[in-house]
């Protein structure tokens, strides 16, 4: 059975995770809006570094969405952080991200102005947009779950 302190620790970490998820999503969105590595060409090394950073960040953020994070905490605390409510919130956020990805993809397909985009640029927009929205949705659902607790 978890101790009262485990519950308090999990509560604190879960609140922190919710706000960090929102902050990470906003930072990712702002950074990509500024750097736009899929749309701006530059010196090969610098450009490759930007693209690699984008891909790595996206993978890390998606891994947090997939696992809930907390890998560095005791298993008891981790299971409390990722209990039924968090699992449901993550699933909901991933579903929202999926539909956003579909909407962006359909938009890219049908809007004539974006017809000249390369497959890489389209993939960049889909991954970035859906990841940001999924993270923001997860953050909102978690903050709402903590409200009045």
């Amino acid at each position: 059975m978890p101790s009262n302190s485990s519950v308090e620790t999990a509560d604190r970490l879960s609140r922190k995770r919710a706000w960090l998820a929102a902050a990470a999503a906003v930072l990712f969105a702002v950074n990509q809006t500024i750097s736009r590595p899929a749309f701006v060409s530059g010196p090969d090394t610098a450009h490759s570094a930007k693209v690699t950073m984008w891909a790595l960040t996206a993978v890390v953020l998606l891994a947090i969405l997939a696992t809930g994070g907390g890998l560095f905490h005791r298993s008891g605390v981790r299971s409390l952080i990722n209990d039924e409510v968090s699992t449901l919130n993550r699933r909901t956020a991933v579903a929202i991200g999926f539909w956003v990805a579909m909407a962006i993809a359909m938009g890219l397909y049908f809007v004539p102005e974006v017809g000249s985009l390369s497959a890489r640029q389209a993939a960049y927009l889909i991954v970035t947009g859906s990841t940001v929205i999924a993270l923001l949705a997860f953050s909102y659902l978690e903050v709402r779950a903590h409200r009045d607790a």
Binding site: M1, S3, N4, A10, S14, L80, E84, A145, A149
Partner: protein, 68 residues
């Protein structure tokens, strides 16, 4: 409160003088879970409903009801 499920979790918890953190510890869940169940934001799984009922010394049927 969820329109398809009412619960008496808050009342039963108060009857025993437990805080949300106390009940969370006894039921081996997070305080967030207790909070969302009490507020009707989250419908617990069968396993969690049974665990909550056991911890509170009551039955699932008296803890959760479908409105007529």
């Amino acid at each position: 409160m969820h329109e398809h499920l009412r619960n008496r979790l808050r009342e039963e918890r108060a009857r025993l003088g437990l805080t949300q953190a106390d009940l969370a510890t006894l039921a081996q869940v997070s305080r967030k879970t207790i909070n969302t169940v009490e507020n009707g934001v989250f419908i617990p799984s069968t396993v969690l409903a049974l665990r909550l009922a056991r911890v509170l010394g009551t039955s699932v049927e008296s803890l959760f009801q479908i409105p007529e």
